[in-house]
Symmetry: C2
Subunit: 524 residues, 2 copies
Amino acid sequence: MNFSKGTASQTLSHVIDESKEEELFAAVCAHAKQTAVLASVESLLGWDERTKMPVMAGTYRAEQIAMQATLVHRQRTDQAHGERLAALAESKLAKVGSSQTRATIQLLQKDYEKQLRLPSRLVEAIAKACVEAQQAWAVAREESSWPMLQPWLEKVFALKREQAACQLPDRDPYDALMDDFEPGARWSVVAQRFERLRAQIVPLVRECVDSPQRPSDAVLKRNFPIAAQKQFVHDVAAGIGFDFKRGRIDTTDHPFCSTMGPDDCRITTRWDADFLPTALFGILHEAGHGLYEQGLSREWFGLPPGEAASLGIHESQSRLWENMVGRSPAFWEWCFPLAQRAFPKALANITAAEVQRALLAVQPSLIRVEADEVTYNLHVMLRFDLERAVVQGGLAVADLPAAWNERFAKDFGIQPQSDAEGVLQDIHWSGGLIGYFPTYTLGNIFAAQLMAEATRQLPDLDQQLASGRFSDLLGWLHQHVHSQGRLLESEPLVEQISGHPVSETWLVESLRRRYGPAHGLAAG
Amino acid sequence: MNFSKGTASQTLSHVIDESKEEELFAAVCAHAKQTAVLASVESLLGWDERTKMPVMAGTYRAEQIAMQATLVHRQRTDQAHGERLAALAESKLAKVGSSQTRATIQLLQKDYEKQLRLPSRLVEAIAKACVEAQQAWAVAREESSWPMLQPWLEKVFALKREQAACQLPDRDPYDALMDDFEPGARWSVVAQRFERLRAQIVPLVRECVDSPQRPSDAVLKRNFPIAAQKQFVHDVAAGIGFDFKRGRIDTTDHPFCSTMGPDDCRITTRWDADFLPTALFGILHEAGHGLYEQGLSREWFGLPPGEAASLGIHESQSRLWENMVGRSPAFWEWCFPLAQRAFPKALANITAAEVQRALLAVQPSLIRVEADEVTYNLHVMLRFDLERAVVQGGLAVADLPAAWNERFAKDFGIQPQSDAEGVLQDIHWSGGLIGYFPTYTLGNIFAAQLMAEATRQLPDLDQQLASGRFSDLLGWLHQHVHSQGRLLESEPLVEQISGHPVSETWLVESLRRRYGPAHGLAAG
């Protein structure tokens, strides 16, 4: 009797512990989902600012965003949430729960601790400095005046170094900053990979430029009426699988993709009546981001299993659709008749092959956001090396313009005539986005490696794309990438999917294979 | 020495008190302005839901709005805010401050106490019941099934009665509910005025309908391409003074005007390619609301001196531009050439006078939102009498359909064939907007009384309107209405401006003067 009583009591206490753990887990999930609701409202404020807001409403919008950001930060650093997470970290659930449960506990705790180690004084100082630095940047770029921006960048870099030291004191400061965008990334690994990539892209660009058989993009520089472009890119986005019941397209100056809820992902583009690729590839890129967002788990929205793995993985999805699919002959077999219906005048007497070839023109140029697919990575790697040198102390902010121009000449064979076309062209540093640039080229590397594996597993993929059937590719990405959420960091995720460690090899191979023939280069 | 020391100390303590009062006042203002920021974000969520949101995003949007509403309610009932207001109420500032300061203290305290007397249990119960009742309403109207809605309306009316008893226990329950929309209004005064109005409108409608010389609206029922309508109504709104640097126009199902900041007022309309007035008068109406919002004090945004006086005054501004201006011969002298340029086919071989006369067709009909200016008030007064009888206990919810049909036959000479065209047509009751309907007709009464005074003070107003100069009228409204904010309740405000107590006389006179000749009725 005593014995059985004891057993019952032990069993009961065990049951209570387990149900208590489940309760704790439900509470931290509910808290994180509330944070997501607050953050999604901040996203709406940002989306509206960049697409719809009347011009004079900016000052008040800044107040609205600042207040919402404060609410989000307060929610994220809530002490009770932290205590529940600490208790859960020691729980059985953290050891034997499902992979989603374990990742949720571990990543929410990591996020919480990173937030908590950031003093709110520093959060405010960074927010304020970045708003002011971005305003200074807009004027400095307009007037091509580096001295106007330099003191602001010195301030921002100093604050970001402070942030790195607070948040991840044991890590190299640049690694600490990259962690916000590419969790777990190490500069030493990335730098070696980028050096190998650069060593192959610089000569490829030279070969393309020196070739007597360069494609011309003249056929894309005709009149494409904007109203027809709007319908056309909508149809293309819907064609590849972007769900307009759960999303929309709007007009903006600097295209982006923003998510305001599990069923609300909005993509944007700009329009050029005299150059079709501006809007079309803007939309293919952003729709690639959008397909990832729409493919994330709705059930886990706001929690790690329903979040993107990293910005690099995000970029791999946009680049895959924009470049690997969108510039392929197969895609243009499907897309060209749509385009001809939309632009009967501009595309009369032209073939799909001519358009597709025009999309492969390689031309070194000064501005990153206008670069072709091949030279693009050179722009990114230059920024990665320079910002890293500043963060790690090897380069003074004051020396950025000279370092920029020297490196640019080396990689591109041309040099900016003004800082506006050089070191002043991007908003990222003024906005505190330091450690962000490498994710663009990591995205290209991941995209090529994933596409190689998708092509291997879907042997008739080209025929499918040519007939407008994108569902197998999208389904493959959904199964292997989207549905994985943030359970793995980017490198283990790509390795798990492709069966190979991450390498630039696939990107180099893909660029040579696709751009070489278009420029009459010899194979291999 | 002692004496003079004592004086110095007394003076100092007086100075400290005054500076302490100013500090308290600054704190309550800052708090109210923060509330306004939170509430403006809620407005953006609502605007976006009704104009841009993807169809499947509704469930999450409800969560976003509910969370933002909770934040607003928490902020509004903040105890420290209440204590500061209580201290200020006893202060010298509340007695000898500027009229703005005194109104701010008094009205913020009134708002705070009304909010505080509402238990959060009841706030939640009403919010939940109204969401569910509105969903039930949508189905019930679709299927024209009163029994589907009745239990929900019973619940909503019961909860609203409870709200009235909590918030203003000393007032008649219907007066308490009206106070949310028309502060200080009394049903007994409104009912007497409405009865006098009804006694004159019912025979006017009969005369119009029986006249052998009725205007036809056939010229407005042609093809007006939507793209041209969009440009046209934009130009008309800009023409009367709506500032597009501080606002915009979007498409929606049920037109509204919404403000998201001191420089961000957005109006909406719907489009009918075969009937021009739908969009045009939608925009004239909403732009009238918008001009009021854009005319409120930017400096006092979020505080009573920068808030609208009441919904009735708001409606007076929309109705004044929509009806008193927008249906006048002078306005069409200016507007018709614009319209002809926008719709050259539809308006070929037609004159301004023909269009303007077509806009004055009186025709009793079943649906309020499609009613002409004269019969519109009969729709409103019917709802006022019925909802008041339910709130005051003289009518059971179950008896609403029969009461509706009986009264409708009496006032309009026709009867709905189904409840969908009758008692089920409006969303207001399901949405908890009880005590709201009378503000529509109060707005018409205020508009006529204000327009009579404006016409007296601006003797060449007709010539101005005919030449597209709206700035004098707008300036007059700004000076007398917009810039007054919420300092006076609606009736004292209209009396102060016009020099006469509020009366339906001016509305009756205006309708007879404008609609009589168009229907060939004898003068007087």
